[in-house]
């Protein structure tokens, strides 16, 4: 192993980490407000196809990101209407959203399959920082979306922990009736959180299609949306811990194709199981801990709320 391979690996660790982090951050926001959205996979796919369409039309990755965010946000709005406003079951609605999003993206994207790549997210003009040995390529030569992801992670933490909006959102996710009694509109909060979650999943899909897969194919998401769902649990619903998890799980994704060059005699397919296996392990540990203190999971997750008179 030489410096080049290691640097190459770490560049990919960050790239895959960013991919997973954006989607997981979106899911985290929705879950913090008490809405489980199992439609991440579908929202990422819609974001991906929207970004590719935009790339073909306008060529600008920034426009692509915005279009992807809007498209996936609109898709998330379906879940918000069905599961939040109408109060139908969140699990079923979310899974249907995945099926719908995968189907719709395939339908809309059929003409884009195996087209050549469109313009990628570029790097920031950081000048000589990019030339630095090792940390230059790993940190400063990354596409600007990586910086955006970091900034969004910090912003999410700040809003959740340090603002009135975040306090209200967390309250809605812990106990909707209490939040309602304190004057926080449960419906508005949850709809907004689900839509924000969709926008972030759309960003993730755009980054996947433009920079990582470098093109659109049906099924391009390949289960990454489920890793994002797992990451939120691994990160114990905290943006910071989720970022560490994103780097870890992203690291596993980056490691997969390289194992053989590193001379490790383990099938990359088996390594690719690890994120899910680790998540099951973490969940078991949380469950054991929650015998002595409240669980890290938002208490009202999965529960619809309707204000009713006696």
């Amino acid at each position: 192993m030489n410096e080049v391979t290691i640097v190459g690996l770490l560049v990919d660790v960050i790239a895959f980490g960013v991919l997973l982090y954006l989607a997981a951050l979106g899911e985290l926001v929705a879950e913090k407000a008490g809405v489980l959205n199992l439609g991440v996979e579908g929202m990422m796919a819609i974001g991906g196809v929207a970004a590719f369409w935009s790339g073909v039309q306008f060529g600008s990755p920034l426009v692509g990101l915005i279009v992807a965010g809007i498209a996936a946000g609109l898709l998330a709005l379906v879940h918000a209407l069905v599961a939040v406003v109408l109060g139908a079951d969140q699990v079923v609605s979310g899974l249907a959203l995945t099926i719908f999003g995968l189907g719709l993206s395939a339908f809309l994207g059929k003409e884009y399959v195996s087209l050549p790549p469109v313009e990628q997210f570029g790097t920031l003009p950081l000048g000589s920082l990019r030339e630095l040995r090792i940390i230059g390529p790993i940190l400063f030569d990354q596409p600007w979306v990586a910086w955006l992801a970091a900034a969004l992670g910090f912003l999410t933490w700040f809003v959740l922990e340090r603002t009135r909006v975040g306090l209200g959102l967390r309250a809605v996710g812990e106990n909707a009736a209490t939040a309602d009694a304190a004057g926080q509109s449960v419906t508005v909060t949850r709809v907004a959180a689900v839509v924000v979650g969709g926008v972030l999943a759309g960003f993730s899909g755009a980054f996947l299609v433009l920079n990582l897969a470098k093109g659109w194919t049906e099924g391009v998401t390949a289960g990454r949306g489920w890793i994002a769902v797992a990451l939120v649990i691994f990160g114990a619903w905290r943006p910071g811990r989720t970022a560490i998890g994103a780097l870890l799980f992203g690291g596993l994704l980056a490691l997969e194709p390289r194992l053989q060059t590193f001379g490790v005699e383990v099938s990359p397919i088996l390594v690719s199981m690890l994120p899910y296996a680790i998540t099951i392990g973490v969940l078991v540990v949380f469950s054991i801990q929650s015998r002595h203190r409240p669980s890290a999971a938002p208490a009202a997750i999965g529960r619809a709320y309707r204000r009713e008179e006696r």
């Binding site: 406003v85 249907a96 099926i99 509109s185 508005v188 199981m273 078991v284």
Partner: protein
């Protein structure tokens, strides 16, 4: 929102769930038509072609029923767990586990006769699906670990197990690099009935009918519904919840495993990565539309089988087959909405709390 809110109706609307599902179908057809029209297709033509290819001939009906088999069994698996309030999101993975176990039986006993091999493969499939569900079942019963996430994660894990097998240890040397296991011995194929249908259809119909009756009429089914209505009440009635959770989730996995076994011996004839083909996820929608009642699963499964067959058939006319997924999801969204509106009605909100909340 929008100055409107939901108020509970004194009496639910007539027709119950049947009405909701039909409303969902109608909504899906209208929205799907819009999408097809925007895509430059004639929606009526497409729908007619879909209907014809799903029901228009003996062969068409056979195709529809062949797809209804895994959909129905997966739906039943989800519904059995769901009637106790448990979510088995892992039917997709349990189908794969069933197929792996069935294929393993065929590998171990390549020379057994069909009368021995087929039953053993199906039993293996049942055991395989059940085993995969056992871990989430025990974790839920003993530690309270949320089964939604564990079953979901196991889907992804078992998918990689089958990928590993068909790319490695079990790879067919004659497949020219194609990731698939060798074809099963000829005697391992389920005997045919008509056209593409085989006795897997009868097995599935029998299992669905048996569970439909048993869960509605038996003491076991009663305990299930009691536990699904209220865990504390079930405990009060002396039902051991822990044991019930383990048996029901494992049984749920076993039913999905059977679907994998039938798919293996009846259709795919060899272990491939895509053996579950999304049926496990579609089964969740089937079960939700049947309100988790095993007795309602079969009808919804046939309808979804028809949509899928129709979706594949119209590919030849240039319409993407993904229209089938879109329609299935839209039927669910429509039915969920209709279900809510059969119990609630829109009223003008008399609350001004919104204004206060958005200071």
């Amino acid at each position: 929102m929008f100055g409107l809110s939901l108020a509970k109706r004194d009496e639910p609307l007539w027709g119950g769930q049947t009405r909701s599902v039909l409303t969902g179908v109608l909504i899906a057809l209208v929205l799907g038509a819009l999408l097809l029209w925007l895509n430059g297709n004639d929606p009526v033509e497409v729908y007619l072609k879909m209907a014809e290819s799903a029901f228009g001939s003996k062969r068409a009906i056979s195709n529809t029923l062949t797809r209804a088999v895994p959909l129905g069994l997966a739906g039943l698996a989800v519904a059995v767990a769901g009637s106790m309030g448990l979510w088995n999101i892992g039917a997709e993975g349990q189908i794969i586990a069933g197929a792996i176990a069935g294929a393993w039986v065929a590998r171990v006993l390549p020379d057994a006769g069909g009368a021995v091999l087929i039953p053993l493969m199906l039993i293996g499939a049942v055991v395989g699906g059940g085993l995969l569900a056992l871990l989430p079942a025990v974790a839920r019963a003993r530690l309270g670990v949320n089964e939604i996430i564990t079953t979901l994660m196991l889907n992804e894990i078992i998918l990689r197990v089958v990928r590993y097998l068909v790319n490695g240890a079990w790879k067919d040397p004659l497949s020219l690099g194609f990731p698939q296991a060798p074809a099963l011995p000829a005697q391992a194929a389920l005997p045919g009935l008509f056209e593409r249908s085989n006795i897997g259809l009868l097995i599935a119909a029998a299992v669905l009918a048996a569970f439909g009756v048993y869960s509605a009429r038996s003491k076991w089914g009663y305990e299930l519904r009691l536990a699904g209505s209220s865990e504390k009440t079930a405990q009060y009635a002396g039902i051991s919840l822990k044991r019930k959770i383990v048996t029901v989730l494992t049984l749920s996995g076993a039913i999905a495993g059977l679907a994998g076994g039938i798919e293996l011996t009846g259709s795919s004839n060899r272990l491939v990565e895509g053996v579950a083909n999304g049926w496990g996820f579609a089964g969740i929608i089937v079960a939700a539309l049947a309100l988790m009642r095993p007795s309602g699963v079969a009808a919804v499964a046939v309808a979804f089988g028809a949509v899928q067959v129709g979706g594949l058939a119209i590919q030849t006319t240039g319409v993407p087959s993904s229209i089938a997924s879109i329609l299935q999801a839209l039927i669910l969204f429509g039915a969920l909405a209709a279900g809510v509106f059969s119990q609630y009605r829109l009223v003008r909100a008399n609350s001004t709390s919104m204004a206060v909340a958005s200071v």
